[in-house]
Symmetry: D2
Subunit: 308 residues, 4 copies
């Protein structure tokens, strides 16, 4: 893709001003109360799945850039400390964590990515400073609750894990959607499964990191056409690397986060959910993926939960 | 209450062995798939409420013990850092947080409290060590999704906020439940509202901290009788301090966490949810309060979401 | 002092270009090998004094701005963890700290303060970014070893602690220097004692914080005339607050750090050293106040040691 | 070496009770005022050397155990933040670090290692708990200032770096001491150079980590005979790994820290100092290696400075 084609695509998916000049929620605006009640109706069997990686030193970070994006370090503030001198006193234990917000399972807040000095809706990139994201921070997103739709690309290809460099394109997503019989509707949150997280669950971090399948740039158009509220995937970069527009480095991040105002979720673990969906061929569920609300954060640590 | 009466009450609410000798989920076992589908059925209007405090230096901690329980510190790892040398390169921002797991809105994991050398289900307190809670840590709880029931004690008393030292007793909860017409059923998660969090929302941390109303020790019996899955409140200590069994210091923590295996949520913000419930007199909702899964943590940082 | 007078004073103490356009050490350049050997010659009785506050949650921070400048939090990574399964295995304990670099006893790196877009030697303030101080960071200072001279203002006034708002002026320092018979020479590091740290040692953090005596703006001229290498004091703000040039807020910081290239040390504990100096009336010593070398840090955590 | 021989050696170097039952400083007690003045007399040319690694994400840790011993993460609390709304306001930058105390250049506090339930001087290992080292923590060491003696083993062998698995034995240290003509005296701090840190300075962390030369177990006897105050080396493990008494895993740690009460310094960078010493064949200097005084810490972050 040339830079010109990229710019044309950016124009197509651009949502700036669509929900007002002050809007900071982007495509999350597609989630209406009706969408939420429709989501609740997809709960049939009462199954509940966490889509999060466990947070520990054995997380997906291996010291590679971005600098400082370490695995979480959790230590004890107190271990069985008595509340009084009496042998009948309750004792308590407390702990504290040091963790990046973009480690393990997380949302990219809209402020996470900027392009040519600008963020979503035309906010200047200077709105992110040492104090954090004064615009488009994770708290601006609010609650992220909607109907989730799993697009299980790996299973559709008859594979446990998609091969490295496999490009999940718009056409691929359309084909999966149709084959599954699970049309994506306005306000849905799409979960794209490549199967990659199975390596993480097996404890193989190097293999989890590379090689991997990911979304190609034209999926931005797919998400735009379907008017999805948010989208998440079971790997770390979300998009193909190196990308097809090398100069931009992360063209899909720019298309989704900056132009469409569409939040991206990364490192979502979809294995168990996918097995359940395949068993009864129901690919929709109530998804609550509301992140921890660290003020002005550019990332959203989250334990997403699917209820079906 | 004498120590003997406390011990008798502990015996009454004791659930050790009820779900097997290896059980680490306690009363969360009351949540069956049927409970979850019933919870989903309480979604009518598609309203969504976060019950979390925003995580920032302006949190509820003021330097008081427990030592080290600070407010979260969030700093930037990168601010609009270009991914390449091209002016057309995407730029990214990242951040990192230092946060106790028992600061702001959180669950006490069952490992948080021990009594006479023992934790829930008879696990020895030595199962909590420098590596964390090897038993009853937050990851052992798994997903926390059920029907939530708001017991709005403050509104029932005709007050915005209950007065300091007001004892929320078993009888009080029964009265609220009845007046609201919202019977608590097996597997429900009960949210007790004192109105205290309104001070926090107003930015008045000292007033939020003290004085306050809280649960009295005999509510342990109420939770036991109703077979609730978990319980949360809109203040920090959960129970009356100083408590009626001074020697134990935190008798209700011991009854709930150690004997019943009932997790307690603290610093839940119930103001908006309560207003909505009062408007249409529906006090039940789907509650997802699944915490961040920091391995072996004794606390569960959480952004609880109520959907109704 | 008017802004014009401030600007005139800035011109007087300006050292930009004095040690070359690339210089990042400022007045530390006054320390020659001869100064170091002279410093060693001041060691007579073999007494050694640490001038640091102990680093703990009981540090001098009380939640006041600057935001995030907390007291250090230290937790255990391991407690008596065996290295092998044998009962004869060594066991180890490890810990980890979270600490601002400007908490407790520290140096302000030259990058700590900027004025009208510029730092010392004309470096643009943009040299400090999310990655830290790419110019004038603490590692640029290198070793800080010289002869130290205590100017014990409190004792000179016949007081244990100077009264609040007492202005330590150029004239005051001259008077103390003369009375003590300890002329300050080129390359010396001056330690100014107000006695304030005695409150900290007594555990009274509020009293330590305010009210307090501090350096007045014209001491910048004194330090310039004496060609001192660095200067430290036994309180946190170093200079009088509110300052005599309100618009600048921290005029002495600007004069010293930005114009003179003179590093300031804060929260130095001088009580024991001062007692020893008073006893034998020797006010000079070998001072090693080389800070921890956190790359690109704007502050220098330090345990200064005086040897006499 | 058999376990019996190890125990016999432990008996030989045992200093328990030597300085009283309450002593927490161990061999640092060898440093008298006379030793300090002797140290100052070794300052001749006014040269100053820092022996510390720069603290950054590019430190010597590579994710290997011990768990949580990460490289330091430093982030900004403020970047050029104005103190007031005026264009003439001073601006400030602040930062914060997360760092283990045993990362990079550090001392092992006496509490760092325990053996068969006991620490130096018979203190029970339970004196280290979640609150830290209540005995033998780094603050108990106090100031660490003495004469330093470099034993440049690599140069004595005619090598830049000793080969992997080279055993620095008692005999080797005796030979170096004699060849250099620099007798080690009571109260000296010995710095053992293997040349290994040159790999770190070149940015080759893997090579820095392994393979490496280190001290053999019988050096404990050498340090004991010479009555040295402390000892440091230019690698991370200090002693040969795997050790000659496999069951103990770290026999020299046990001999030095637990039995002799001799603190060990690790990751000291001796390259520049060694070059200077070789040039004028003076191997002694004033050494200040007083660590940051984090209360109850089992490790001592330090920027050691040699003055000669």
């Amino acid at each position: 893709m040339t830079l010109e084609e990229f710019e044309a695509l950016a124009e197509q998916v651009n949502n700036w001003g669509r929900w007002g000049d002050d809007d900071q929620r982007g495509t999350l605006n597609f989630i209406s109360p009706e969408v939420v009640t429709r989501a609740a109706e997809s709960v049939r069997t009462g199954q509940v799945f966490s889509l999060a990686m466990t947070l520990s030193l054995n997380g997906p970070q291996d010291g590679s850039p971005p600098p400082g994006r370490i695995n979480p370090v959790r230590t004890m503030l107190a271990i069985n400390t008595p509340m009084s001198g009496s042998p009948n006193s309750a004792r308590y234990s407390d702990d504290i964590v040091v963790t990046p917000t973009q480690t393990a399972t997380h949302w990219d807040a809209l402020a996470h990515t900027t392009f040519r000095g600008t963020m979503y809706n035309g906010f200047p990139e200077t709105a992110v400073d040492a104090s954090g994201a004064t615009k488009l921070g994770i708290e601006a997103a609010g609650e992220i609750v909607s109907r989730g739709v799993l697009l299980d690309v790996a299973r559709h290809q008859g594979l446990d894990v998609l091969p490295g460099r496999f490009a999940v394109t718009r056409a691929v997503l359309q084909a999966v959607e149709e084959a599954q019989g699970s049309p994506v509707e306005r306000g849905d949150i799409v979960l794209v499964r490549t199967g990659q997280a199975s390596f993480f669950l097996q404890g193989d971090v190097p293999r989890y990191r590379r090689p991997l399948a990911a979304c190609d740039y034209d999926t931005a158009l797919y998400f735009h056409e379907r008017e999805v509220a948010a989208v998440a995937i079971d790997n770390a970069p979300f998009e193909l690397l190196p990308a097809n527009v090398e100069e931009v480095v992360l063209p899909l991040h720019v298309l989704n986060l900056v132009y469409a105002g569409l939040m991206q979720g990364e490192n979502f673990v979809l294995e168990e959910l996918a097995t359940a969906c395949a068993q009864d061929r129901r690919y929709t569920f109530l998804l609550n993926a509301t992140p921890e609300r660290f003020l002005r954060s550019t990332g959203g640590l989250v334990n997403p939960v699917a209820i079906r």
